[in-house]
């Protein structure tokens, strides 16, 4: 039996796409092994969103090659689009597959073992023809509804590597979800690059969400990362639906209005705060997590303070901080007043401490409350999973099953900066 190993970097969409590819390889008789084991095929689903992600992607390419020099090494994902020539010139990489041909990675590898060498550019381009993700790495079933982005935020390389915004037909999405529910999926995560801008034959994002929520079955719906523009009041209303999980990863990027304008983000910090207030007015412990870019060009002390203030005020469940790094070809690359690396590091440190503090406080507020935990991992009689608020929960019990919901009363919290909640089955 041939062995395949995957490494995924970057966003949820990449995770989904890896899950779908991994399922396909397993369906066709491959054994899925860890990336640090010896395999016949290594697939690296790369990311290029920051310098750091480029660096990590390169590292994994080197590791895979060291592990088995005779393996088939496929590099796909955003770095394959952005640094195609560089990657193609590296002998150890067999195939560099751009995002829009990623669905065909399996047929490429199959053909390779049959002695046929296909150039990836000859493969079919299709953004949505991934199969089910049931044998992938996640208990949650990710469903891709959209790809690409036309927002062109001035710091962002994604529109050039993922291409123009494209939406998957609504009927395909619903059919796909019905199928995964019938196979036992308990949590559906809708994913894409800029899902709030979904548009297909008059259907907007909130229409898709509404129709998914109206499907029958014992499942809950999670929205992955979403930009604060693009959706309207109808969507905010749907957040109270019993099948909707109370969690949104809503990307703020900066709390400073001038910085947001220079980023060409399509909302103001004020609007962002209004959204959070609207959501929390109905559900005070709703988990809102976010991304922050530190040290965007022209970010002064006042701007940085505005970001810190916003973080304190909005009580985020988690803040993912990125140090701004120049991406070639973006508008921000050409901006004057790039921020000194040392200042970025100092600000990152401040922000990380701040966000760790608010994360721990937020999680502590769950002690005494109940979470509906979807179990992902069981070791002995210890079960781990995520509650509806997307906070990790651990509890003990006999005969616990994976991929089932358990009502758990939260009794304590671990120490540390990313603490797991502990509880007891009710």
């Amino acid at each position: 039996m041939k062995k395949v190993a995957f490494k995924t970097l970057g966003c949820r969409l990449n995770q989904y796409e890896t899950d779908a590819l991994a399922s396909q390889f397993q369906d066709k008789g491959y054994e899925l092994v860890q990336f640090d084991e010896s395999a016949d095929v290594y697939v690296i689903n790369s990311c290029t969103v920051t310098h750091q992600s480029d660096h990590k992607s390169r590292n994994f390419i080197n590791q895979a090659n060291r592990r088995n020099k005779n393996s088939v090494l496929v590099v796909t994902g955003c770095m394959a689009n952005n640094a195609k020539e560089e990657l193609e010139s590296r002998e150890e990489i067999n195939y560099v597959v751009e995002n829009d041909q990623k669905t065909s990675v399996f047929s490429l590898v199959e053909a390779h073992f049959d002695g046929e060498i296909i150039h990836p550019s000859k493969l079919n381009a299709d953004l949505f023809s991934y199969g089910a993700t049931d044998k992938g790495f996640h208990t949650r079933s990710m469903i891709k509804i959209q790809d690409g982005c036309d927002n062109f935020c001035t710091f962002c390389i994604i529109p050039s590597v993922r291409g123009r915004a494209a939406s998957r037909p609504i009927q395909d999405i619903l059919t796909n979800i019905r199928e995964v529910i019938s196979h036992g999926a308990k949590e559906i995560v809708i994913t894409g690059v800029n899902i709030g801008r979904y548009e297909f034959e008059g259907y907007q994002f909130d229409d898709v969400v509404e129709q998914i929520l109206n499907l029958e079955g014992d499942f809950r719906l999670r929205i992955s990362s979403i930009e604060p523009d693009g959706f309207g009041e109808k969507f905010l209303g749907l957040l109270n639906h019993p099948k909707m999980t109370p969690h949104l990863h809503l990307c703020l990027q900066s709390g400073s209005e001038p910085v947001l304008l220079q980023m060409r983000r399509m909302y103001t910090a004020k609007r962002f705060k209004e959204i959070v207030q609207t959501v929390r007015a109905k559900n005070p412990d709703f988990n809102i997590t976010t991304d922050i870019i530190i040290g965007f060009p022209n970010e002064g002390e006042e701007d940085f303070s505005a970001t810190c203030d916003a973080i304190k005020e909005l009580n985020f469940g988690h803040v993912h901080t990125f140090k701004y790094s120049i991406r070639k070809g973006t508008r921000a690359e050409r901006m004057l007043n790039q921020v000194d690396e040392r200042i970025k590091t100092e600000r990152s440190e401040i922000l990380r401490n701040l966000s760790d503090e608010i994360k721990v406080n937020y999680r502590k507020s769950f002690i005494g409350k109940t979470q509906s935990v979807l179990v992902e991992k069981i070791e002995g009689n210890i079960a781990n999973g995520y509650g509806e608020h997307y906070i990790p929960v651990q509890f003990t019990g006999e005969n616990i099953e994976k991929n089932q919901f358990y009502k758990v009363k939260i009794t304590s919290i671990e120490d540390g900066s990313d603490p797991v909640l502990k509880g007891e089955i009710i």
Partner: protein, 214 residues
């Protein structure tokens, strides 16, 4: 990406020019922008569309930026050259339902007048005024396109305009009725300051109402 043939260049000042291209089957919503560069070149920039939705050509208004790469290159383009056009992009657009019913104030600095020109050429029946901030009068690009009384020129470096000072000074001195729909386009500092002033005057601005150039 499509290739469009240049059919005319109009030089408005020593640094600012309009490129007219064949429209072919290109369609857009007034207020949107395209990215533009010479055919085959990787150097491309965003430019708002200056012409109306209904014109049978496509126009952009460009100011050559000091030390700028693309605005300088494009200035050298000639009739018959081909430019690569991608798009249209952007959400800086009018709400259909407001066009015949509301009063509009369009505020722009410099070449930020471009999408505003497209707005009013596409919907000349709109009830609107344009507030244009420039340094000197010659930057009042094609001001005769706007009917009498609809175009207010603010000049910051000389007294030749309708108002001597920046658009933000004008807004502070001439408060805007709170039922006005405002759109702002151009440089970030103006937009930031004007946004603040307008909000204090009771005007609510959504995300589609600003377009930042730099």
């Amino acid at each position: 990406m499509r290739s469009h043939k240049v059919i005319e260049i109009r030089n408005l000042t020593s640094s600012t020019y309009i490129i007219r291209m064949e429209k072919n089957d290109f369609t857009f919503k007034t207020g949107q922008y395209i990215t533009l560069g010479f055919s085959g070149s990787i150097d491309r920039r965003e430019y708002s569309i200056y012409s109306s939705e209904n014109d049978n050509f496509l126009e952009v208004l460009i100011k050559e930026v000091e030390n700028g790469l693309v605005s300088k290159k494009l200035k050298r383009c000639k009739t018959g050259d081909y430019l690569d056009v991608d798009g249209p992009f952007g959400h800086f657009s009018l709400e259909e339902s407001e066009i015949g019913r509301k009063k509009f104030l369009f505020i722009a600095t410099g070449t930020g007048i471009s999408p505003i020109h497209s707005f009013v050429e596409t919907h000349p029946e709109m009830d609107y005024r344009v507030l244009h901030g420039v340094r000197i009068e010659e930057e009042a690009y094609e001001k005769d396109s706007y009917p009498n009384g609809k175009y207010i020129l603010c000049t910051s470096r000389e007294k030749s305009g309708d108002y001597h000072g920046r658009v933000t000074d004008y807004l502070l001195k001439n408060p805007i009725p709170s039922d006005t729909v405002c759109y702002l386009c151009g440089n970030c500092h103006m937009i930031y300051e004007a946004y603040d002033i307008l909000e204090k005057q009771g005007i609510s601005l959504g995300p589609i109402h600003t377009e930042v150039y730099f």
